[in-house]
């Protein structure tokens, strides 16, 4: 009964993690509570978009629309009906998640249907358009608050729902992972790999694609419902196009099709700008220019190593380290030299202001060095880790 043992263990671990995260954040890092909630929502969004984009290969870039539909559906229902029903806050939130999921899933069917006829870029345009249309519709519907936004305060106080947010993320991960591991998942990957061949094998490509859209958008909708309740206020501006793009970036950066990759990238891409936002450091313009040049040197060094060192892993790691050290030295020397240019040295900039610049640079560098995404098609697993470690030992021994 190894199977059930592992199952049970992972359930216990997941609940333990979610509970622990909630308790630790509340007691030790109350300032981070809201960020931890948002990070959890982004994990759900990235993993659910990964099901559509990465696993099934349907290029959708309107994921924020499903997020918005879930948020508004749940927010509206909650605001008008919470007072006149007997459920407590927690159960009510679960019901609201279902409401958000159902509405978003219906929208998912609507968007999924054109995907039966459209491929690649064309589908991307349709989903992008759908997202913008939904946002503008909401902006002009007065009962939903229009451009002013919608208050969602059924309980008065904003509820402490970090655990629920991460439970949803865990559920989303579990659903996607089990879909991939069982034989139900093969047709999804088959559609991504080769639609004609999978149709010739008897895979109902249309229902596979619509299923991916429905599951993916339902999870986004449930995440939206939680967002509405934890933020207590939503407006069409919360769900602009850049939200869709950041979710897409998380999926691509993590490695299209890799669930672990999506999780890591979601947390990292959410955390980096937030962390930079808190930095209160003023740096002179000369150092910034020097830093950019040094990063350029480092990246070209990395690419050179990638192309020229194939034989041994330890040599390659050494070469990478040499690039980092060289870039650091270059940064110091350059900033010293550039400080002689008064226009640069006198211009002082806040790191927090530069955060989107730094963020984009991280993205560009990662895409240059690893275009297939950090995890590519792979998944993190303990088997994989032990295999890699054993292989490393074999090389050094």
């Amino acid at each position: 009964m190894k199977f059930w043992g592992v199952r049970l263990l992972s359930f216990v671990l997941a609940f333990g993690f979610v509970y622990g995260l909630d308790v630790v954040t509340q007691t030790a890092f109350p300032n981070l509570y809201r960020l931890a909630v948002l990070a959890g929502l982004y994990v759900t969004l990235a993993v659910s978009l990964n099901l559509i984009n990465g696993i099934t290969g349907q290029f959708s870039i309107g994921h924020a629309a499903f997020y918005m539909i879930g948020a508004y559906a749940a927010g509206f229902v909650s605001q008008h009906m919470y007072a006149s029903q007997p459920l407590g806050p927690v159960l009510w939130l679960v019901v609201m998640m279902a409401v958000g999921a159902v509405f978003a899933a219906i929208a998912g069917i609507v968007v999924g249907l054109p995907s039966l006829r459209l491929r690649g870029d064309y589908l991307a345009i349709v989903t992008l358009g759908f997202g913008e249309i939904m946002r503008i519709v909401v902006q002009n519907v007065d009962p939903l608050g229009g451009a002013y936004g919608l208050n969602v305060k059924p309980f008065g106080e904003p509820p402490k729902i970090l655990w629920l947010v991460w439970l949803l993320a865990v559920l989303c991960i579990a659903v996607c992972r089990n879909l991939l591991k069982t034989s139900h998942g093969l047709p999804f990957i088959a559609v991504r790999e080769d639609e004609v061949a999978s149709a010739a094998m008897g895979v109902k490509t249309s229902s596979v694609k619509v299923t991916a859209f429905v599951i993916g958008s339902a999870f986004a909708g449930a995440a939206g419902a939680l967002l509405a309740h934890s933020e207590t206020f939503i407006s069409p501006d919360t769900f602009k196009m850049d939200v869709s793009f950041i979710i897409l970036t998380m999926v691509v950066l993590g490695g299209t099709g890799s669930i672990t990759g999506s999780i890591m990238a979601a947390v990292a891409l959410f955390a980096i700008p937030e962390w930079l936002r808190t930095m209160q450091v003023m740096i002179p313009g000369s150092s910034i220019v020097a830093g950019i040049l040094a990063v350029g040197i480092m990246v070209s060094g990395f690419r050179w190593v990638q192309n020229n060192y194939h034989e041994s892993v330890s040599k390659r790691i050494g070469a990478y380290l040499a690039c980092v050290v060289g870039a650091a030295v270059a940064a110091v020397v350059l900033s010293f030299v550039l400080a002689f240019i008064p226009q640069l040295a006198q211009q002082r900039l806040d790191v927090a202001m530069l955060r989107m610049v730094i963020f984009s640079m991280v993205l560009i560098i990662l895409m240059l060095l690893r275009p297939q995404g950090v995890f590519a098609h792979h998944e993190f697993s303990w088997d994989w880790l032990s295999k890699v470690l054993r292989a490393r030992k074999g090389v050094t021994a």
Binding site: I189, D194, V196, A200, G202
Partner: protein
């Protein structure tokens, strides 16, 4: 077993098949030869349900199947090894075979997989390997194995010799011969007219969407017109 009656297929305004009529009897190997763009692959795609005919009928075991969804056609017992093999290169060989049996729900899939691998020992050796790492010949074998996994009553083979070295072409055609001996009904589309006619019980020659000749494989091999156009004089 399969009857095609006056089939017209268009891609937009371009007519790819024009009044094609042919039939395949149970247990036969029927070859269709023709040059590039004659409509051979279109014909197989239409039988599989991947293209819709504008006119005409396709009957499989008495029931009309033109315009039926591809997955239903697979369930009825027609399975295709598509042109250019189209195996799932990022999946393992085993997963490819599992997808071949996608429409089946019985519990003999595993034993069928063993049977298929007994016939193709090289596939067994590479079972856990990613299918993209297979050689061209092995990929073609995998494509045929995958098509066999659905237990087809009629097997459609689209250019199985495409892009293969001569000794591998011989191997593939030997395999087709063995399948024929096992009683599998095969509709084969080929540019390699010589091989296709040698192996066929009957054959058709397709030219710009029309059937221009039909007959026994042996007779067509010696037909002066076929010799001149397809067998190099």
């Amino acid at each position: 077993m399969l009857e095609i009656d006056n089939l017209d297929v268009y891609y937009g305004a371009i007519q790819a098949l024009n009044g094609v009529t042919l039939n395949v009897q149970e247990g036969e190997v029927v070859s269709i030869i023709g040059s590039n763009g004659a409509g051979k692959s279109t014909l197989l795609r239409t039988v599989s349900g991947l293209n819709r005919p504008r006119e005409g009928a396709i009957r499989f075991k008495g029931s009309e199947i033109q315009g039926t969804a591809p997955d239903k056609i697979v369930r009825m017992g027609i399975s295709q090894s598509p042109e250019g093999r189209r195996i799932f290169t990022n999946m393992t060989v085993q997963e490819n075979l599992q997808l071949g049996a996608f429409t089946r729900t019985d519990n003999e899939i595993q034993s069928d997989m063993e049977k298929v691998m007994d016939k193709f020992p090289r596939i067994r050796e590479r079972l856990k390997q990613s299918a993209g790492t297979l050689s061209g010949g092995e990929q073609q074998m995998l494509a045929i194995c995958r098509a066999l996994m659905s237990r087809p009553k009629l097997l459609l083979l689209d250019e199985p010799s495409m892009g293969l070295a001569p000794n591998l072409v011989t191997e593939i055609f030997n395999i087709i011969g063995e399948l024929h001996k096992d009683g599998v009904t095969i509709l084969l589309v080929e540019q390699n007219a010589n091989r296709a006619l040698e192996i066929a019980d009957r054959a058709y020659v397709l030219e710009t969407g029309h059937i221009v000749l039909e007959g026994n494989g042996r007779d067509l091999l010696t037909n002066p017109k076929v010799k001149e156009a397809y067998l190099g004089g």
